[in-house]
């Protein structure tokens, strides 16, 4: 079972690698930083990739917007969502 810290670390790593965030390293991503818009600067097209990445690397499905909206706010919220689903 992954701990919350493990999940966050892995999340940052796959974000940078899979979304090709070239000017960023995992260490530069703040846990509370907004993923979309201001903050990390991801957009709706990255959201598509992110949903698939979460499923591929963590085996967790973000089924709809009800689940996705609160989960995709920051690394913290996404890690908490994954941890909850993996229980």
């Amino acid at each position: 079972m992954n701990t919350n810290l493990d999940i966050k670390t892995k999340l940052k790593q796959v974000l940078v690698e899979e979304l090709n965030l070239e000017d960023l390293t995992p260490a530069q991503i703040d846990d509370d930083e907004a993923l979309f818009g201001e903050g990390l600067g991801l957009d709706s097209l990255d959201a598509v990739e992110l949903v698939v990445v979460v499923q591929k690397h963590f085996g967790v499905e973000i089924k709809d917007m009800e689940e996705g909206r609160p989960a995709l706010q920051s690394i913290n919220t996404l890690a908490a969502f994954i941890e909850e689903k993996q229980k």
Partner: protein, 289 residues
């Protein structure tokens, strides 16, 4: 186009005299618009300049008249379906078996259409898919003409996904595709941010077309179907499967990788315009002038 009372006038004409009476009034109303509304001519001009490059003066005006007359007929037809029921028109589907086989792949189906023919009528022909149909669409402020289901006072037959919603509606689109549903989008108009569009060639110029649907298809493995509707006669429409586009997994944020696929759509649309020059109703500025 048109003011609210003018739309109401045509709805009344349909109720009391049927489609033909409404068509009859259209000749005069469209004539008035083409002669006296600079705005109507201005909005049709970019397309007509490219489709009929050698036409000037009166000849250009004639093409403008035919284009707007056909657009008016489509608006009338849309209202006719709502007021008199779908049986008022015969809708033929070309490519039914192919669509069913793509549906059975189980990855959902992305249908990319354009502002041609009457896509709302075409949507009414998708029942055979036996899957919920979702439509990515945005109603503009001041958009006064009604959809056919609004005339009929029935529930919208498709689920509307609003591109101005959170993350441009992409999460809803993904969710629908995961359930094996059909998602329809308009491929000839950009609705979201600039990053979600790419430049392709269309009718001798450069246009920006959206590629979000192509990105989703690449990520999910969903097949894309390019489909166009056309008005075949006064009381019949057909829906044509123009192209099937399969996109491999493309990683990263580089939009350029999607250009060849968006270009396929653009090429199919151009072929449509060559064949049916008066059924292209995208009056939004497309080309970089």
């Amino acid at each position: 186009m048109g003011k609210n009372w003018q739309h109401q006038f045509f709805y009344l004409a349909i109720r009391f005299g049927g489609r033909r009476l409404a068509y009859f009034f259209l000749y005069f109303v469209v004539g008035y618009y083409v002669l006296f509304s600079r705005n109507a001519r201005r909005r049709a001009a970019p397309y007509l300049r490219r489709r009929f490059p050698n036409a000037h003066g009166l000849e250009r005006l004639y093409h403008c008249y035919r284009l707007i007359l056909n657009f008016g007929r489509v608006l009338v037809d849309r209202a006719v379906i709502g007021i008199m029921g779908p049986q008022a028109f015969k809708v033929t589907l070309h490519g039914r078996d192919r669509l069913l086989s793509l549906r059975d792949e189980g990855k959902g189906l992305l249908m990319i259409g354009a502002h041609v023919g009457c896509w709302q009528v075409a949507m009414s022909a998708l029942d055979f898919m036996q899957r919920p149909v979702n439509m990515l669409m945005r109603r503009e402020d001041g958009d006064i003409d009604r959809h056919y289901y609004e005339h009929a006072g029935i529930e919208c037959p498709y689920q509307v996904i609003d591109p101005t919603e959170y993350l441009g509606g992409t999460l809803q689109m993904l969710g629908a595709l995961k359930q094996g549903e059909v998602v329809c989008v308009m491929g000839d108009r950009t609705l979201g941010s600039e990053r979600s569009s790419v430049e392709v060639e269309f009718m001798g110029g450069t246009v920006e077309l959206p590629y979000s649907a192509y990105k989703i298809a690449s990520t999910t493995g969903t097949p894309i179907v390019v489909f166009f509707s056309r008005k075949d006669s006064s009381d019949s429409y057909s829906l044509h499967l123009a192209e099937v586009i399969r996109i491999p997994e493309i990683k990263g944020r580089e939009a350029q990788s999607f250009i060849p696929y968006v270009q396929k759509f653009s090429t199919a649309l151009e072929q449509y315009c060559q064949q049916l020059p008066y059924q292209f109703f995208n009056f939004f500025p497309m080309w970089r002038e």
